[in-house]
């Protein structure tokens, strides 16, 4: 599959790779260069492959609150929040953003690889007085990220970018929300697919660097934002993933609540932990074995070379007794063990 910006990516020198069935740019000028641009000025990512579900109707708040972990009822119109869709065992099906557009109107932005599965799951549990529409094919989206993104926002929309994160603005034929996946200031702009080439051109003309999936991955991993399919899976709960903040236990019920309550009572067996290489450290990659005192205890779920730290970084579900910051581990890379250390999340924090 291709986003409406496929030709534009080629024209901008994008190297295309397969990303869960989508032909997406992994990089243009280079991952390190793009990474640095987002940390220091601004970069733009094509996120058109992500899915857009519209939910409306008098039953929508109660229905969403019964399916998602975060509390939609306390989300004010014009705001967005991060939430999770769980299975009955409390495992993560998907992580998503919920935009509250009105009292009974919501936009859900879900992962590209999960559009069909999420839609099937949600439609299979459709509530009274709820209209659910999967309109993923109709929309394209751009994420503009970096300290200079406010200037780009003003140029595009003629008003200052909201200072706070998670603010939703409805604009002509689209939505802008101050969210992102890089740890920098920025916004995500969702609009009809036909507008994509024009929107892309406008953003590039305001001096923003095109960035690919490679930089998106290094930027998010430095901030320890989980990637579904790698760090999140149906076999791990949000409590294990360190996402308890996005689970509202005060809600009477939601799919997976019972399992989470039981896990909370019994104690979480593993925690998604942040790892940083010590000394000479090769880039880390997913599925590298992790050892403590010579015993294999986990494997990395994500891994990369951190451009900001200049070292290998990774995440892994470590047994809780080995998940404290300062814990030394070894990570096996091509049959050789390299030292690494559990760090407090996030791995990268901008100097104040």
């Amino acid at each position: 599959m291709r986003t409406p910006l496929y030709e534009a990516h080629l024209a901008a020198g994008g190297r295309m790779v397969d990303f869960s069935g989508w032909e997406m740019p992994v990089q243009y000028s280079g991952i390190l260069d793009e990474h640095q641009s987002v940390r220091e000025s601004a970069g733009v990512f094509d996120v058109s492959h992500m899915g857009e579900f519209f939910v409306s109707g008098p039953g929508s708040v109660a229905w969403l609150d019964g399916l998602l972990t975060n509390k939609v009822a306390s989300l004010k119109p014009g705001n967005a929040h991060y939430s999770l869709l769980l299975n009955e065992r409390g495992g993560v099906i998907d992580d998503l953003l919920v935009y509250r557009l009105g009292a009974e109107e919501f936009l859900l932005v879900v992962n590209a690889s999960m559009i069909e599965e999420d839609a099937g799951w949600m439609k299979g549990r459709l509530g009274e007085g709820v209209v659910f529409e999967n309109r993923s094919a109709e929309f394209a989206a751009l994420a503009v990220q970096g300290p200079a993104s406010g200037k780009v926002f003003e140029k595009l929309f003629g008003c200052p970018m909201p200072e706070d994160r998670n603010r939703v603005l409805e604009i002509e034929e689209g939505f802008v929300v101050t969210t992102g996946y890089t740890g920098e200031k920025g916004f995500e702009w969702v609009f009809p697919s036909a507008e994509a080439p024009c929107a892309w051109r406008q953003v590039l003309e305001s001096g923003v660097k095109p960035c690919g999936l490679g930089a998106r991955d290094t930027l998010r991993l430095e901030k320890c934002y989980p990637l579904n399919g790698s760090d999140l899976s149906p076999d791990h709960t949000p409590l294990e993933a360190g996402l308890g903040f996005f689970v509202d236990f005060t809600k009477p019920d939601f799919v997976g609540k019972e399992a989470l309550v039981a896990q909370k009572a019994a104690g979480v067996p593993r925690r998604l932990s942040a790892l940083e290489g010590i000394g000479k450290s090769p880039p880390l990659r997913p599925h590298y074995p992790v050892f403590v005192h010579g015993v294999r205890v986990a494997e990395t779920t994500s891994g990369a070379h951190s451009p900001s730290l200049g070292r290998g970084i990774a995440m892994a579900y470590l047994p809780v007794e080995f998940s404290q910051p300062g814990q030394e581990v070894e990570i096996e890379v091509r049959g050789k063990k390299f030292r690494a250390c559990v760090r407090k999340k996030p791995l990268y924090q901008k100097a104040p």
């Binding site: 992994v26 990089q27 280079g30 991952i31 390190l32 260069d33 490679g214 290094t218 000479k280 450290s281 090769p282 880039p283 990659r285 990369a304 070379h305 451009p307 091509r334």
Partner: protein
């Protein structure tokens, strides 16, 4: 793309500079451009015996890990420690400061199996 005339090339994108019975090995400009930002390099240990086609070294870009093969059979005479500390040399100067190892050739006839600059250029321009 730079393809120096005084080198011979392996299909797997290594170059070798032969002086007497010593060969200096590195990766080509084309290879470094394809791999992009190189952030880790592990040249072979001194004295290691390699056969033509053996994995001699590993380099990793931000994106991917790549095996570097020895284009010839012989013994490792020198390893470039500079690339361990500054892997980016492989990107900025692949035919110079970014060399990976030197090898004593035991079978110079193997050089005939490698590509000349014209043949290598044809391969990468395909």
């Amino acid at each position: 793309m730079n393809v120096p005339a005084n080198l011979r090339y392996a299909e797997s994108h290594e170059w070798i500079l032969v002086e007497g019975d010593t060969g200096t090995v590195g990766i080509t400009d084309h290879a470094q451009a394809e791999l992009t930002d190189i952030v880790f390099a592990e040249p072979p240990v001194l004295g290691k015996s390699l056969r033509a086609g053996d994995v001699a070294a590993v380099i990793e870009s931000v994106k991917v890990a790549s095996d570097i093969y020895s284009p010839v059979t012989g013994e490792v005479l020198a390893r470039n420690e500079a690339i361990e500390h500054s892997p980016a040399l492989l990107n900025t100067d692949p035919f110079g400061a970014g060399w990976i190892f030197k090898i004593r050739l035991t079978n110079p006839a193997e050089l005939d199996a490698l590509k000349d600059p014209a043949a290598y250029r044809a391969q990468i321009e395909e």
